[in-house]
């Protein structure tokens, strides 16, 4: 597929969505009835859930990777190491197709939201009209235009005007960041609207209690996501590579992607903590619902998967060290680090009790409170293990183990020699598995943020009167998250194959 065609699809869909939004705004001025249509078999919520999550995952990708790309291009320019240039260019190619996917799913999301939740859509449109139609559209068009210009001028500007090209890349990132900030205002408003909402200015609606924490959380998350996806692309390409040179290049790319992914993963638990703290400060009952009540077990999964990411990254370092001569001497110390990481993760996920709500409910497998406490609740002398100080120590230990392993890696590099492309073939699958974990976790925790509103579309302001106004079980959410991840993966794999398979063709 030619990139020109992709650009046309993106522009056309963007215009269509913009037109639809303006028409919807006009319609919203009159009293809109609640939708009577229910999507067959899966229901309205699942449709919105699926489309919005896939849209968000692509959104995260196209916002995260340009940061990664520009940094790589800059390093390439400074060091004259052409691998950075190639890496930046290849990722950009995939990103361009992902722009089109983002627009397509964004358009679908808007259309389905208007059709299935007209009252809510009308309410949000009226409240945020200047943001949704003005700011967001201008930023989106600016970002897309700059991105396509960035791509088309890559070769024509050449090495002589690299600075101008980089400036264009920075422009893509700035407009991307502002686009995300603009749309985050609506998402955060739905959870933490200003008090009172009536009479609040547009700025008060935008700058609500969790707007900034959400922006920061997503910004870090997106770059981390971009890094892991770049590593996944490296894993894919390494598997299908035919030459030693290509294999060496993708081995190197996998390492760089993972390094960036991990660098931005480290502060995410702290950022998540700050975000949750803001939610708690806004409404303690929201924090309790999240951490101690119906969403508490979702956080167990979050802890386990974050642990998997850290252990996975350290395992990747282990495999990477195998291709450095003389690095065997660090084996024992890294193994001790793994044990520390596993024990820390076990402490991280210890809950106060193994029931999914604050108090026992029928159908949870216990006849009464005493029975539940005997088998599923920490006794009071061990309760400290379920509290934040214990969790903080555990997270800090995992982070320290990871940092230590990277330090050992650099020390091994100083004395030994690295042979790119000679990494254990298992590393390619580790990279793919790591990105699978990141995508699954991101889709899953995104749902948690939405479910936190309980039976409100806009917390304490617009009640959700539909049949879906409840928190689905962990099992249900996990299955749905797996489906979302599969859809995203399938499309992303298609994009990678379509845009990059010629890069490793034997004839090249």
């Amino acid at each position: 597929m030619k990139i020109k065609n992709i650009s046309l699809v993106s522009v056309f869909t963007s215009l269509l969505v913009l037109g639809l939004t303006i028409s919807a705004y006009a319609a919203a001025q009159s009293d809109i009835p609640e939708a009577e249509f229910t999507f067959p078999y899966i229901g309205n919520r699942v449709v919105i859930w699926l489309i919005s999550e896939v849209h968000l995952l692509f959104g995260a990708f196209i916002l995260g990777t340009p940061i990664f790309i520009v940094v790589c291009e800059y390093i390439g320019m400074r060091t004259k190491d052409m691998r950075y240039e190639r890496l930046a260019k290849e990722i950009t190619k995939v990103t361009l197709l992902c722009y089109a996917f983002t627009v397509l799913f964004g358009g679908m999301f808007a259309m389905f939201l208007f059709a299935l939740y007209p009252k809510l859509s009308a309410y949000l449109l009226i409240k945020f009209f200047p943001i949704a139609v003005g700011v967001y559209s201008i930023l989106w068009v600016t970002e897309s235009t700059l991105m396509y210009l960035y791509w088309y001028t890559w070769d024509t500007l050449g090495a002589r005007k690299k600075g101008l090209h980089l400036a264009m890349g920075i422009g893509v990132n700035i407009s991307g960041f502002l686009t995300m900030a603009a749309i985050n205002s609506v998402a955060s408003f739905m959870l933490t609207p200003p008090k009172p909402v009536e009479g609040a200015t547009l700025w008060q609606l935008v700058n609500n209690a969790t707007w900034i924490p959400l922006i920061l959380h997503r910004l870090l998350g997106n770059v981390c996501f971009g890094g892991f996806i770049a590593a996944m692309i490296a894993g894919y390409m390494s598997i299908i590579s035919k030459t030693k040179e290509d294999r060496a290049f993708y081995d190197w790319q996998g390492f760089v992607g993972t390094l960036i992914g991990m660098a931005f993963l480290l502060p995410i638990p702290i950022m998540g903590y700050i975000y949750s703290l803001e939610i708690y400060k806004y409404g303690a009952e929201l924090g309790v619902y999240q951490m101690s009540d119906r969403l508490s077990m979702f956080y167990e999964i979050n802890g386990i998967l974050t642990g998997v990411l850290f252990v996975g990254a350290n395992y990747y370092i282990w495999l990477s060290m195998k291709r450095i001569t003389g690095a065997e001497r660090f084996k024992s110390i890294i193994k001790i680090g793994f044990i520390v990481a596993f024990i820390s993760n076990a402490i991280w996920v210890i809950p106060r009790h193994f029931i999914a709500t604050m108090i026992l409910e029928p159908g949870m497998g216990y006849a009464n409170e005493a029975e539940m406490m005997a088998s599923a609740e920490l006794p009071s002398h061990l309760a400290f293990l379920s509290l934040m100080p214990a969790k903080n120590i555990a997270v800090t230990l995992i982070i320290l183990v990871t940092l230590l392993n990277y330090i050992l890696y650099w020390r091994a590099l100083k004395k030994g020699e690295i042979v790119w492309g000679k990494i254990d073939a298992m590393a390619d699958y580790v990279l793919i598995f790591q990105s699978f974990t990141v995508i699954w976790l991101m889709a899953f925790m995104g749902a948690v943020r939405e479910l936190n509103r309980k039976f409100y579309h806009v917390y304490l302001h617009i009640k959700d009167y539909t049949v879906d106004a409840f928190s689905p079980t962990l099992a249900y959410s996990s299955v749905l998250t797996t489906i979302i991840t599969a859809i995203f993966f399938a499309l992303l794999s298609f994009a990678i194959w379509l845009m990059l398979h010629k890069e490793v063709a034997p004839s090249k």
């Binding site: 598997i239 400060k281 409404g283 303690a284 009952e285 309790v288 619902y289 101690s292 119906r294 077990m297 167990e300 999964i301 395992y315 282990w318 193994k335 793994f338 044990i339 596993f342 024990i343 993760n345 210890i350 193994f354 999914a356 604050m358 108090i359 409910e361 029928p362 159908g363 949870m364 406490m373 005997a374 088998s375 599923a376 920490l378 002398h381 061990l382 254990d424 073939a425 298992m426 390619d428 598995f433 699978f436 974990t437 304490l460 959700d464 009167y465 106004a469 409840f470 928190s471 689905p472 079980t473 962990l474 099992a475 996990s478 299955v479 998250t481 797996t482 599969a486 993966f489 794999s493």
Partner: protein, 370 residues
């Protein structure tokens, strides 16, 4: 498989076989319930498998990489879905039913007149709004540090409960006056509750009392209660009840035969019943309550049960006990507390009673419109 690898695997297996029961026994001895012990056992198995992977021989490059990629997806999908399905679940029907009542069925509460049914409906509303997430009641629900336990809330005045519900920031008990907890109690119930729910919740909360013979939990040392008791004792709250007239403002009796309240060791008159002969420090909660409610036979101490509510009697008792320090709180401690910032807030809070009542009435007006 090489001999070295085989030995390595066997060595790890032996370590795992030793570690598994050791972890189980140690966690049992430490007091971890069975589900936690299972969790640790799973971790041991995962660590064992992971260490096998660490020392596994390098993987060969496959010709059909696509299948391996697909297998990687499948492993991830299955493992994460199984974890999600395997963790504790809840029945969504319960929350759905709650939400149905909150969004459509709650008007039914407004029609209830029968007091017993009203209390039951109040319990329903309490559960619907998930008050148990922060407040412990009958040993169930929220952590103690998050919000006050409500087992004895029924002893509080109706006004106090209304205020705590509708305007929670008006007064925050000392132990909850911390940055993280100060505004933890939602302040939107005047907007969220309808009249029926409000009436029912009030009836339910007023019904919560642990025992008629015991001082409500925490009241012996609670400055707010003690100061309210002092106002009754001094005849400020109700001019027809003035304990100070006989027992003196500072507990030094001013009437012949009146009990000296300042000395915890002083015994009462020999003529009185057995319990009155005991020094104050040995009085049970019931002794205090009966002395005020029923009076002391064959002495000038009358029973004040007609003039004071049971709740007020406990408050007077709490204040009287500070005069001798019989229950832990002394006048000195109280004075020192009132000098603190929180103490000054309490004094100002109590002084603004009229203003507070006005605000609660206004908030109740909002409920009528819901």
């Amino acid at each position: 498989m090489s001999d070295a690898n085989s030995i390595n695997i066997k060595r790890k297996a032996i370590i795992a076989i030793i570690a598994l029961p050791s972890v189980w026994i140690i966690s049992y001895l430490l007091g971890f319930p069975i589900l936690f012990r299972w969790m640790f056992a799973v971790y041991v198995v995962v660590i064992f498998l992971f260490f096998l992977l660490l020392d596994a021989p390098a993987m060969e490059r496959r010709k059909r990489g696509g299948l391996s990629i697909l297998l990687t997806f499948l492993i991830g999908s299955v493992v994460y879905t199984v974890i999600g399905v395997g963790f504790p679940q809840y029945d969504p029907k319960i929350e759905r039913e709650k939400i149905r009542k909150l969004t459509t069925g709650r008007m039914e509460m407004a029609k209830i007149e029968d007091p017993v049914k009203l209390i039951e409906a109040g319990k329903d509303a309490y559960d619907l709004y998930e008050c148990y997430n922060c407040h412990k009641l009958k040993g169930k629900g929220g952590a103690k540090s998050r919000g006050p336990e409500l087992d004895d809330i029924g002893w509080e005045s109706a006004f106090y409960i209304k205020e705590a519900l509708l305007d929670p920031m008006a007064w925050i008990p000392d132990e909850f006056d911390k940055p993280k907890l100060r505004d933890a109690m939602p302040d939107y119930y005047s907007e969220e509750l309808n009249e029926g729910e409000y009436k029912a919740v009030m009836a339910y909360l007023k019904s919560l009392r642990l025992s008629a013979d015991k001082m409500p939990r925490g009241w012996w040392t609670e400055p707010r209660i003690i100061l309210e008791g002092k106002n009754i004792y001094d005849g400020i709250t109700n001019p027809s009840v003035n304990c100070a007239a006989c027992h003196g403002r500072d507990g030094k009796s001013v009437m012949s035969g009146a009990r000296e309240m300042r000395d915890a060791n002083a015994k009462g008159s020999e003529k009185t019943d057995v319990s009155r002969k005991k020094p104050i420090k040995e009085w049970s909660d019931k002794d205090w309550f009966d002395a005020i409610k029923k009076g002391v036979p064959e002495t000038a101490m009358l029973g004040w049960g007609q003039a004071l509510s049971d709740s007020d009697i406990w408050k007077v008792a709490a204040y009287c006990a500070t005069l001798s320090g019989a229950k832990g709180m002394t006048q000195e401690k109280l004075k020192a507390f009132l000098e603190t910032e929180h103490g000054k807030l309490l004094t100002s809070y109590l002084k603004k009673e009229d203003e507070r009542k006005e605000k609660v009435t206004e908030l109740e007006g909002e409920i009528e419109g819901n």
